[in-house]
Symmetry: C2
Subunit: 187 residues, 2 copies
DNA sequence: ATATATCTACCTATCAATAGATAGGGAATC
DNA sequence: GATTCCCTATCTATTGATAGGTAGATATAT
């Protein structure tokens, strides 16, 4: 049985699953050890075995989310810039529409002034890696100001999620992002 | 002494000031009656005199913020669409750069799934009123798809705040919004 | 092969701190 | 004398965290 990936115990992953869902609904202060434990059928003390402190849990949360998110994006050498941007939007759409959740790092980014430093740093890393990925795409497309385009792209995704969720109107996200890849690549 | 506006006691306003700052740093669960009371030099029980429940406080918070925010925008009949959009961006810039705080409703919008209903409704109203204001501007400018432009505009502002704060780089906001009014009005 | 030790993954029980909220009192103001 | 505005005192619930125990698996030593 090959287990090449960084093995995280089954329980640890279930803890992260539940914590992630709660965090993506209400933020860092919206998930508690007891709530998580209750939902997966263990005791809150047992969570401390896997994640000694809430800070540790938060850090693991953002780390796993970032890896999964960027892993879901297309390979930069296998698709056109246009295809890659379509996939980028699709990653956010899946988080918003299918999962009915906010982006974890959009949430934590808003709360960043009150997050423990390690969690805040991981959140910054999420955006940093997204910026790098997008800049590469825009450079490959020969778009001017790739850094600013990348930042604008992220801003629109995170903001569109917030707005659509606030208005209970997911179509707002669809309309904002409808011809975004085409628009952002021209000129 | 003319006080035509809905009079709120001095203490009530100081409570809202402190609560707003805390909420705009860490969200709805990041301000507590005790913290607020300690900062303005009264007891936590006294806050309940002005705002019976936290829900009430949250509602008042969003209501005041929305009125102030929209009140700071230019009159729709006194400026050009371009000038109005510049003012709109400036309103967010002031919140982000001068106050060094997140937009209250961007924050609450992210957390909306875990907010008390009355607070969530007020948050939705903030965005609704912003959408209406922006749509009017885009219609006056003869821009196609004014509803989608309005939504995109809000998304970019809220997202740009989150990204700039997460990256500790306020220039990201400046660059994203630099020629936004011009770009969004052409074609 | 058997006995011993260690490790894993939970448990019970408990802690101090903090949360929002309430009852009832008192001084000042109108 | 009623209203306004704050107080003390207290309540219950919840927070993250810790100490210490245990059953079962695994590893090591004899």
């Amino acid at each position: 049985m090959p287990k090449t990936e960084k093995t995280l115990s089954d329980t640890a992953n279930r803890i992260l699953d539940v914590a992630e869902k709660m965090a993506r609904q209400g933020g860092y202060y919206a998930f508690s050890f007891r709530d998580i434990a209750a939902e997966i059928g263990i005791k809150s003390a047992s969570i401390h075995y896997h994640f000694p402190t809430k800070e540790d849990l938060g850090e693991a949360l953002v780390g796993r989310y970032t890896d999964q998110f960027l892993g879901a994006l297309g390979r930069l050498d296998e698709s056109t810039p246009s295809e890659l941007l379509v996939q980028y939007v699709a990653a956010y759409r899946q988080a918003l529409i299918e999962q009915d959740l906010m982006c974890l790092c959009g949430m934590f980014g808003a709360e960043i002034a009150r997050l423990p430093d390690p969690v805040a740093n991981r959140t910054r890393e999420f955006f940093e890696r997204n910026l790098v990925w997008l800049e590469t795409v825009f450079r490959a497309a020969g778009t001017p100001n790739p850094e600013t385009r990348a930042a604008d792209m992220i801003a629109r995704m995170e903001g569109a999620m917030i707005l659509a969720r606030s208005m209970h109107d997911m179509d707002l996200f669809e309309r904002i992002t409808a011809d975004l890849p085409a628009e952002v690549l021209r000129d």
